[in-house]
C-alpha cells in the first residue's frame, strides 16, 4: 500500500480504521480513476489478502518477535520534529529508541563514495558533537553514514539510523555489528514494513525523514550529483539549518559541498561552528592533541608531520623524510601501533584525529 494510495484513501475516509472496513467495490471506486488497471488489480489483490484477521495477526506477531514497534502519527511518541514536515510518514517502525525531544540532533550525511578524509571528518564531528550531548542521525549507509554513527558512539552519545528498507533487512551487510550496537545506543527507524527490500527508489524518501528528525544537517562530502544534496534540499524546505564542510576548489568529491556553501549553507571548519548555531557556547577546536605528539621521538615527529588526512604512499614518506625504507617502516609501525596514524589501504598512511 504505497503512500500515494494511502493519501488518497485517507483524504476520502479520514481514519485508517475506515480503510480496514472498506469493501473491495468501494476501494475500486475510490481508486479507479487514479490508477492504471493492472496496478489497481495488484492493489485489490493485496488488499483482500491482507484484510484477513489471520494475516494481520501474523504481521503483528512478527513485529513482536523482532521487537519492533509501530508508531503511528497520532501516537504520543511520534517525533514532533517529524510531524512538522509536509509529508511526514503515516507510521514508522522503530527498533530501540526514538531521538529525544529535549536534546538537539544533527543529521550527518555525505557521498557514498567517500574518501578517507570524508570518513574521518564524519567520525570526528560526530564524536565531538556527541560529547556536547547532541544526538546524531544518519542513514546507516557505507562510508560517511557508518562513520558518523561510530563516531557518535565513541563520544558516548546516542545515534539513530533511518533505513530505506524493512528493519529486518540489514543493508549493507558489512554494517551488521553497527546495527546491533545501535539498537542499544540509540535506535533504528524505518518507514517501510518488515521484509521490504532496499530499492534505490526508497532512498530519497528515506532522506526526508533523516532531515525531518534533525535540527540541522551537516553535509561532510558530496560530489555534484550526490544523493546527500537531496537530503540537504529537503532539509532546507523543512526549515532546518544546513552546514557543509568545504573542500579544495578542484576536488570533485567536495564540489557538492562547495556549491551548497555558495548557495548559502553555513561553512563549517570546526565543531564549534555548529555548536554556535545550536546555541551551545563552546570553544572546541579540531586539534591534534599537541601533548601526545610532543611525547614522540624526533624521528617519529618528522614522519608524523609529514602525514595529513590525505593518504600518502610509503615511498614518498621515505623520500620526504630523507630516511631509508627500513627506518621509515619501523617508525610507521610504531606510530600505527600506538594509534597516531593508520593505513587506509595498504602502504598508504594518514593521521588519526
Amino acid at each position: 500500500m504505497n503512500r500515494r494510495i494511502l493519501n488518497i484513501l485517507l483524504r476520502h475516509l479520514g481514519h485508517p480504521r475506515e480503510i480496514y472496513f472498506l469493501r473491495e467495490k468501494q476501494l475500486e471506486n475510490l481508486l479507479g480513476e487514479q490508477l492504471k488497471t493492472d496496478h489497481l488489480e495488484r492493489v485489490l489483490f493485496h488488499f483482500s489478502k491482507s484484510l484477513s484477521l489471520e494475516s494481520t495477526k501474523k504481521e503483528y506477531e512478527k513485529l513482536e518477535k523482532e521487537k519492533v514497534r509501530f508508531i503511528a502519527c497520532d501516537d504520543e511518541e511520534y517525533p514532533k520534529r517529524l510531524k512538522e514536515i509536509y509529508d511526514y510518514p503515516y507510521g514508522i517502525y522503530v527498533k530501540g529508541n526514538l531521538p529525544s525531544e529535549e536534546k538537539k540532533s544533527i543529521a550527518i550525511v555525505g557521498a557514498r563514495k567517500s574518501t578517507p578524509y570524508g570518513r574521518e571528518m564524519a567520525r570526528v564531528f560526530a564524536r565531538e558533537l556527541a560529547k556536547e550531548d547532541i544526538e546524531i542521525i544518519s542513514g546507516l549507509a557505507r562510508g560517511i553514514d557508518a562513520n558518523a554513527h561510530i563516531g557518535c558512539i565513541e563520544g558516548g552519545g546516542k545515534t539513530y539510523g533511518i533505513l530505506g528498507c524493512g528493519i529486518d533487512k540489514i543493508y549493507p551487510r558489512d554494517n551488521i555489528e553497527l546495527f546491533i550496537e545501535m539498537e542499544k545506543k540509540g535506535g533504528i527507524i524505518s518507514e517501510y514494513g518488515l521484509g521490504v527490500e532496499p530499492i534505490s527508489y526508497h532512498f530519497p524518501f528515506r532522506n526526508r525523514i533523516i532531515s525531518g528528525m534533525a535540527d540541522g544537517i551537516l553535509v561532510v562530502e558530496a560530489a555534484k550529483k550526490s544523493g546527500s544534496l537531496i537530503t540537504a534540499e529537503q532539509g532546507l524546505e523543512q526549515g532546518r539549518e544546513i552546514f557543509a564542510l568545504p573542500g579544495r576548489s578542484i576536488d570533485r568529491q567536495s564540489e557538492g559541498c562547495n556549491l551548497l556553501i555558495q548557495k548559502g549553507a553555513k561553512l563549517v571548519l570546526n565543531v564549534s561552528d555548529i555548536l554556535l548555531e545550536m546555541g551551545i557556547n563552546c570553544e572546541k577546536k579540531l586539534n591534534i592533541n599537541k601533548n601526545l605528539v610532543d611525547s614522540l621521538a624526533n624521528c617519529e615527529k618528522l614522519v608524523y608531520y609529514c602525514l595529513s588526512l590525505e593518504p600518502k604512499y610509503i615511498d614518498d614518506i621515505a623520500r620526504e623524510c630523507k630516511m631509508t625504507l627500513q627506518e621509515t617502516m619501523s617508525i610507521l609501525f610504531i606510530l600505527e601501533l600506538n594509534g597516531y596514524i593508520k593505513q587506509v589501504i595498504q602502504n598508504y598512511y594518514i593521521i588519526v584525529t
Binding site: 562510508g143 601501533l337 595498504q346 602502504n347
Partner: protein, 503 residues
C-alpha cells in the same frame, strides 16, 4: 621374418622405451599395425609404405604385422615412422638384426623418405641412455637437443636411405657439427630494474620475494608499472643450475616450444598466460597429457595479470600445485606428475576501472567497488606471502635524476640469501623459506624478544589468523637472510608485517 627395433614415447615429461616389432609371413597381403595406437600414429602405415617405395626399397607382398610393445600403454606421435621402416627393412631381409643392436631410433618420415624433426627428443634420449642404449639415430635438426645428454652417441640423418646405408656400413652419420659453444648466448635483450625510476619499496619487496621464492601480489591502477616490474624478475634470480636447465629443456621440448636448433635453456622462464586460459592449459592435461603453464614456469615466474578476470575454478586449481610444488594429472590408466616449483606473481586492481582509491579518477559505482573488493579474499590469497601497492610515479619522482636500484644492486644480496637457504635446508626436502612447514618454522626461525612482541601486538589488534602469523615469520626469515642475520630481529618482522595483504 621377425624383427625388433628400439624406440620410445614421451609420457608427461619423461621418455618410456617402446619396442617396435615387425613380422612378414605368407598370407593375403595386408598391413596391420597394433599395440594400442592413437589415430595419428596409425597413419604412420601410409607414410612408411610410401617413403620406403620412394627411397627405392621393395617390400614383398606378404602379410605384414607391426606391433608396438608393451601393448597396454597408449602410444601417440609421429616419431615411430623411422623405427617402423627400419623394422620392416629388417623383416624383409634388407638389413640384418644385429646391426641395430643397442641403437635407439626416432623420427618422422615425409612421403619422399626425408627425416623430419620430432618433439621431446631430450627425454627420449635420456630414457634411451638409462635403458643401456649406446647410440641414438635422430633427424638431423634434432641433433643439438639430443646431444645435450652425455654418455651416449647421438647421430643425425636426413633421410631413410642414409640410415639404411649407415646400418649396412656404407655410410657414416655425423654427430653434432663443430665444437659449438654449448653455452647459447643469452639474449642481448636483458631487462634491467634500472629501467624503472623510483618504486623503491616495490623493488625491495621483489628482492625479498625472489630470495625466498615467496608468492607476490602487486596491486595498483593501470599503467603504474606492475608488468614492467614483473618482467624483470627472472633476471635477478641466480642462474639456473645444469640440472635445472636440463629439466626445463625437457619440459619445453615435450611441449614443442624449443626454438629451432635450440640447445639448453639457460634463462629462467617467465610465463604470462592470458586470463582466458583454460584449466588444463594452465595446470596440465589434455590428450595427450602435456604440462601446463605452471610447469612451463618451473623454477621461474608465473605472472597472472588481471587476477580477478581469471575464472574462479581456474584459480582454485592452482591451490594444490602451489602447496605441493607439483601437479598431479590423473587419467584412467596413468598418473602423471609434473614439477611446478614456481614463484607466482599476481597483479590486480582495486575496482573495475582500476583507479581506486584515487577518487578523482575512479568512476565506479560504490556497489561495484564493494563487489569487486569482496573477491580479494579467500584461500587463494592465503598463499600470497608478499603484497605491495604500486602507484604511478609522482611528478617529483619523474623529475629526479636518480635512477634507483638496478638489477645489479639487487642481485648480490639475493645470491647470498639463496646460498644461506641452500645450506640451511641441505638435509631437508625444501629449498626456500617460503616452503617451510609450520613445524619447521619453530626450528629455523629464532626471533629476538622485541620481534616476538611486535608480532604479538599486531596479531592481537588486527585479529590475524595462525596462517597470517606463520606467513609473516617466513617472510621475516628471508629478510633476515638478506641482512645476513641468523636471528630474526624486530626490523625484519616490521618489514614482513608491512607486506601482509590487508583488506
Amino acid at each position: 621374418m621377425y624383427s625388433k627395433v628400439v624406440s620410445g614415447i614421451v609420457k608427461g615429461i619423461d621418455g618410456v622405451l617402446i619396442y617396435v616389432e615387425a613380422d612378414m609371413s605368407n598370407g593375403l597381403p595386408i598391413f596391420e599395425m597394433v599395440g594400442y595406437l592413437s589415430s595419428e600414429l596409425k597413419e604412420a602405415k601410409e607414410r612408411v609404405r610410401t617413403a620406403l617405395k620412394n627411397q627405392g626399397y621393395t617390400i614383398p607382398s606378404k602379410k605384414i604385422t607391426v606391433n608396438l610393445l608393451p601393448a597396454d600403454l597408449r602410444k601417440d606421435g609421429s616419431a615411430f615412422d623411422l623405427p617402423i621402416a627400419i623394422a620392416m627393412l629388417i623383416s624383409s631381409g634388407q638389413i640384418s638384426q644385429e646391426k641395430t643392436d643397442k641403437i635407439f631410433f626416432a623420427g618422422e618420415l615425409g612421403l619422399d623418405g626425408s627425416l623430419y624433426t620430432i618433439r621431446g627428443v631430450l627425454p627420449l634420449v635420456c630414457c634411451a641412455k638409462e635403458a643401456g642404449m649406446k647410440t641414438c639415430i635422430l633427424p638431423r635438426d634434432n641433433l643439438k637437443e639430443g646431444s645435450l645428454v652425455d654418455e651416449i652417441t647421438v647421430l643425425g640423418a636426413s633421410s631413410l636411405r642414409e640410415v639404411e646405408q649407415f646400418l649396412n656400413g656404407k655410410l657414416s652419420l655425423s654427430k653434432l657439427e663443430k665444437e659449438e659453444d654449448m653455452e647459447e648466448k643469452i639474449s642481448k635483450k636483458v631487462l634491467d630494474f634500472s629501467d624503472i625510476i623510483g618504486q623503491e619499496y616495490a623493488k625491495r619487496a621483489i628482492q625479498v620475494a625472489v630470495s625466498g621464492r615467496h608468492n607476490m601480489l602487486l596491486f595498483g591502477p593501470p599503467g603504474s608499472g606492475k608488468s614492467m616490474l614483473t618482467k624483470r624478475i627472472p633476471y635477478i634470480a641466480p642462474k639456473l643450475t645444469k640440472k635445472e636447465s636440463l629439466e626445463l629443456t625437457k619440459i619445453y621440448s615435450v611441449k614443442g616450444y624449443l626454438k629451432e636448433k635450440q640447445g639448453l635453456i639457460l634463462e629462467r622462464p617467465f610465463r604470462n598466460p592470458h586470463h582466458s586460459i583454460t584449466l588444463p592449459a594452465l595446470i596440465g592435461g589434455g590428450r595427450p597429457v602435456t604440462p601446463g603453464e605452471i610447469t612451463l614456469s618451473h623454477n621461474g615466474i608465473l605472472f597472472l595479470d588481471e587476477l580477478l578476470e581469471f575464472p574462479k575454478n581456474v584459480l582454485e586449481s592452482l591451490r594444490q600445485p602451489l602447496e605441493d610444488k607439483k601437479v598431479l594429472v590423473s587419467r584412467v590408466d596413468e598418473q602423471y606428475v609434473f614439477p611446478a616449483d614456481i614463484m607466482m606473481v599476481a597483479a590486480t586492481n582495486l575496482c573495475p576501472c582500476g583507479y581506486y582509491p584515487d577518487m578523482k579518477r575512479c568512476n565506479c559505482k560504490e556497489k561495484d567497488i564493494v563487489r569487486y573488493q569482496k573477491k580479494l579474499s579467500g584461500p587463494f590469497f592465503d598463499r600470497i606471502d608478499i603484497s605491495v601497492k604500486i602507484r604511478p610515479l609522482s611528478y617529483i619522482e619523474l623529475q629526479s635524476e636518480k635512477r634507483g636500484s638496478s638489477s645489479f644492486d639487487l642481485q648480490s644480496q639475493i645470491k647470498n640469501a639463496v646460498a644461506i637457504q641452500k645450506e640451511r635446508y641441505e638435509k631437508e626436502e625444501i629449498n626456500f623459506n617460503s616452503q617451510l612447514s609450520d613445524q619447521q618454522i619453530a626450528k629455523y626461525c629464532d626471533m629476538e624478544e622485541n620481534a616476538k612482541k611486535s608480532l604479538q601486538e599486531v596479531m592481537r589488534r588486527k585479529k590475524w589468523s595462525a596462517r597470517a602469523y606463520f606467513r609473516v615469520i617466513r617472510v621475516a626469515r628471508t629478510i633476515a637472510d638478506l641482512a645476513g642475520s641468523d636471528k630474526i630481529l624486530n626490523t625484519h618482522i616490521v618489514e614482513a608485517i608491512s607486506y601482509h595483504f590487508q583488506f
